[in-house]
């Protein structure tokens, strides 16, 4: 079976007054059915452009987008319109119809698919239950909170039983707690309805919470892609490092002194490493940051240490930590 989504050498550029902007440079990746795939990048990295190319809201200049092995670019407008009904999309700003109430918003895609009114109403009611919004059926979007609006948007996108769900910064306008609940809902939907989800975000924490694999975008190109845990513990490219660290950095890292980021996971030993380093070298290290995260269901500890200024001691400390099977990364 081919992957559900396959992007091949996709390129897209825009002509602007300031000149040409290469928003997507030779991007290739594929997503397996049922997977939750993350695309992460800083603002302007080209995430929205890329995701909009996946349902041809934006037409790529070159390359191809295959869904279930079929090229979207080769489709006629009619076929594309049909195909789009199977590729749902949710947005940062929800994009609900402001003049329709909640239930009629959910009926909208079914009107497009020519589902009979009574049947559509019934399905909409069921979907409202799925997203936990039954009591707001007759409310208008203006009367809902951001999280509630996104729940309605999710119900709406599920109406035509999509195979694929594209989420462009779907949680970026929400507070952390609402973000978590929306992500849980997406995860639940993906699992129970076997929907493939693509999550676009600039926040590492979002990817950590629900994605198994991730592609890191940097100025229009894929800097690296792979397992979230892999990239989180040992980012190889500058872009990935920046995103991983920016997710944890409470204070701007100070210049001059050497900092390292160490990761503990299931394989790490149970000895108190930080204490032992201090004892073994006779100089203290400064703990700048420490946290435990749940990545794909397993706990991963993360710490940023500031090492002594003397480069030889610092290097020996790094070697010491590496011997203890810790992932050590200079930052």
């Amino acid at each position: 079976m081919p992957p559900i989504i396959e992007v091949k050498n996709l390129c897209k550029s825009f002509e602007t007054k300031e000149g040409r902007v290469d928003a997507a440079k030779n991007i290739s990746f594929s997503v397996e059915k049922g997977e939750i795939f993350g695309i992460i990048g800083l603002s302007g990295a080209g995430k929205s452009t890329l995701v909009r190319c996946l349902n041809l809201l934006e037409r790529p200049d070159s390359g191809d987008v295959l869904v279930n092995g079929q090229s979207l670019l080769a489709m006629s407008p009619k076929e594309l319109s049909m195909r789009r009904q199977g590729i749902g999309m949710i947005f940062q700003h929800f994009n609900l119809l402001m003049q329709r109430n909640v239930i009629d918003n959910i009926c909208f895609p079914m009107e497009i698919a020519k589902v009979p009114r009574a049947k559509a109403k019934q399905r909409a009611t069921e979907l409202l239950e799925t997203v936990g919004m039954t009591d707001k059926a007759l409310a208008y979007p203006a009367q809902l909170s951001g999280g509630q609006k996104q729940r309605v948007a999710i119900a709406r996108v599920l109406a035509n039983n999509p195979e694929i769900l594209l989420c462009d910064e779907a949680t970026s306008a929400l507070d952390p707690q609402t973000t978590r609940s929306i992500l849980e809902l997406l995860q639940h939907i993906s699992k129970t309805m076997n929907i493939t989800v693509i999550i676009i975000t600039h926040e590492m924490s979002v990817v950590q919470q629900i994605c198994k694999r991730v592609a890191v975008l940097d100025s229009g190109a894929v800097a690296e892609q792979g397992d979230v845990k892999e990239i989180f513990t040992s980012p190889k490219t500058e872009a990935a490092k920046r995103l991983v660290i920016s997710g944890v950095r409470p204070v701007d890292l100070m210049h001059g002194k050497k900092m390292v980021r160490i990761i503990f996971d299931g394989q790490s030993s149970y000895e108190p490493v930080v204490g032992n380093v201090t004892l073994a070298f006779g100089t203290p290290v400064n703990i700048m940051y420490a946290d435990t995260k749940d990545i794909g269901g397993s706990a991963v500890g993360e710490m940023i240490l500031q090492l002594p200024e003397d480069p030889i001691t610092a290097q020996r400390m790094i070697d010491y930590l590496k011997e203890r099977k810790l992932v050590v990364e200079e930052v």
């Binding site: 809201l57 195909r83 947005f91 119809l97 329709r100 895609p109 497009i112 208008y140």
Partner: protein, 221 residues
């Protein structure tokens, strides 16, 4: 200021004629202006079906028509009016130039209302596989309905004013009465009354339009 029965009847008939011209012209104005406004919105460069050629052509025609002074237009279209209505005077005849004057104005009002619709909502509809026709009928127009209705109100007021102007060249209605009695026969009281009626009509139409558009707006919690 006491009016004879005939005078009152005449004023009532004038009011009826003015309303008739205004409402029918607004209606036909929209029959032409609404599709043109939609076309302008859709073919503009950030519309759902950009087409620089079509947009330019309509844009120019609309601009030219809008810059012709109404009084000139009244005279210019006389042959056309005769062809359609059979005569060139009276309230029915006035509807022709009124529609021609109002349509480009309406097209612009419609264009500006439709362009207020959030691009994201249109994009969401496209992502669901909506056709252009569906986007126009189920997204653009319903989402812009408040603004469109405010537009209708403004248009109606403007046409009412134009209809009074047309009265001065034999168009019938209150304008006609005002010029015949107030201006030619120096019956200032009649002129004053017609003005008061015109103002009242504008106020009433304006008020109804605003109430309806506000009633239909769901964007306010």
């Amino acid at each position: 200021m006491v009016f004879e029965k005939e005078m009152i009847t005449m004023l009532l008939e004038g009011t009826r004629d003015t309303l008739y011209m205004t409402l029918v012209s607004t209606l036909f104005g929209y029959v032409i202006g609404l599709p043109v406004g939609i076309l302008l919105t859709v073919t503009d460069k950030d519309g759902i079906r950009p087409n620089a050629f079509v947009y330019r052509i309509i844009d120019i025609i609309v601009n030219i028509m809008r810059s012709i002074p109404f009084l000139i237009l009244l005279i210019l279209v006389i042959p056309l009016t005769k062809l359609i209505v059979g005569k060139s005077y009276g309230s029915s005849a006035t509807i022709v130039p009124l529609v021609i004057a109002a349509a480009p104005f309406i097209a612009r009002m419609v264009e500006s209302s439709l362009k207020e619709v959030d691009k994201g909502v249109i994009e969401a509809a496209t992502s669901m596989g909506a056709s252009d026709f569906t986007i126009i009928t189920k997204v653009l127009i319903p989402e812009a309905r408040t603004s469109l209705l405010v537009g209708v109100t403004i248009v109606t007021g403007t046409i009412l004013g134009y209809s009074a102007m047309a009265g001065t060249v034999g168009g019938g209605g209150l304008g006609d009465i005002a010029i015949r009695y107030g201006y030619y026969r120096y019956q200032t009281d009649v002129m004053l009354v017609t003005i008061v009626i015109l103002v009242a009509l504008v106020q009433i139409l304006q008020g109804i339009g605003m109430i309806i558009s506000r009633k239909l707006d769901r964007r306010i919690a």
